[in-house]
């Protein structure tokens, strides 16, 4: 009998050399892992540039063995991604890796504009229903009634608005080729989400339009739950508000 390795960190994974780490059970690490998996399976490691926004989700860019702009100014991830994509005349595969706050609060204008332009980039939004980095404040994705440090009585839509549904919102945009929402709270969802990511990257490889994948991601530190409790919360609270699936999958846009 011989022992062979069947699974370790993905090929394009890289141990972070940064003093910044993520909390125990933070699923942003799984988001990074999935990206690496998808990149490895598509064989595009050497040609991919990752742009991450500021936030816990941005730390993911430390964990990939690909060229990366790590933690660009908050919310400007799609703009920086656009800059590099255009500078290199469309050649590299450019991934914008964002937290939900980065993507659809301060970054809403950048995302919408990239979508209007049909910018050939892939946007991954890690949705942990709060601002992880700064200590758990309201995000556009915070659920109604969810307690955060800036909605201490729970999110009241009359004052703080409604949860943002980003892939759904992107569907009518002509420039958007792909929009999906996944989760990593079960092995099945892990695999499904990986397929979404690969499909999204493929749209970019095929030069069709902007592709977008949202991934629900546990934040034990700010949900004030154990990691395993977080998985349940995702299943019972988040997924009903944020249904998983592909919302758009266009072979061409015009």
């Amino acid at each position: 009998m011989e022992k062979i390795k069947v699974r370790g960190a993905p090929k394009s994974w890289q141990r972070s050399t940064s003093p910044l780490t993520i909390c125990p059970g933070c699923q942003h690490g799984v988001v990074a892992e999935l990206l690496c998996d998808a990149v490895d399976e598509l064989g595009i490691q050497g040609n991919t540039i990752v742009i991450s926004g500021i936030g816990c989700a941005g730390i993911d860019a430390f964990m990939v063995d690909m060229d990366a702009f790590i933690m660009c100014p908050h919310g400007r991830t799609c703009d920086v991604a656009t800059g590099i994509k255009r500078a290199l005349f469309g050649k590299p595969i450019v991934v914008a890796l964002q937290g939900d706050g980065d993507c659809i609060a301060i970054g809403a204008g950048s995302l919408i504009s990239a979508a209007l332009r049909g910018e050939k980039i892939t946007v991954i939004m890690a949705n942990n229903a709060n601002y992880g980095t700064t200590g758990g404040q309201l995000a556009p994705t915070t659920l109604l009634d969810q307690v955060t440090s800036t909605t201490p009585e729970g999110r009241d839509p009359g004052l703080a608005g409604y949860p943002a549904h980003v892939p759904e919102m992107l569907v009518p945009f002509r420039g958007v080729a792909y929009a999906a929402r996944g989760a990593v709270n079960t092995p099945a969802n892990y695999q499904r989400t990986k397929r979404y990511l690969k499909a999204a990257l493929q749209k970019q490889i095929d030069n069709i339009g902007l592709s977008f994948v949202e991934i629900l991601s546990a934040c034990p530190a700010n949900w004030h739950r154990t990691p395993v409790e977080c998985l349940k919360w995702i299943e019972e609270k988040m997924i009903p508000e944020y249904p998983l699936g592909e919302f758009k999958n266009a072979d061409r846009i015009d």
Binding site: E2, G25, V30
Partner: protein
């Protein structure tokens, strides 16, 4: 039946417990009296007999602390990585 084994790297494990939760075969436990180098509760692989190298524990580990091995007849050529399940 396939037999497998995992190794947990104490330097990277943060004791979140996902591997324990997700191993459908109950191969991993957190004894509670063992700690990682960073002081977190360390999970331990306990069930060499039941592990089938499905790699789910490794997928779900956010901190890439797990490696999964599979026992094969010597010389047999297996796919390198079954992660794409």
């Amino acid at each position: 039946m396939t037999r497998g084994e995992i190794s947990i790297d104490e330097r990277y494990c943060l004791g979140c417990g996902y591997c324990v939760h997700f191993c459908a075969r109950g191969c991993i436990v957190i004894p509670g009296d063992r700690f990682t180098t960073m002081g977190y509760l360390l999970p331990v692989f306990i069930n060499l007999e039941r592990c089938n190298a499905c790699a789910v524990c490794a997928w779900m580990c956010p901190h890439q602390a797990i490696e999964v091995y599979k026992y094969v007849e010597s010389g047999q050529n297996e796919p390198e990585d079954i992660s794409s399940g």
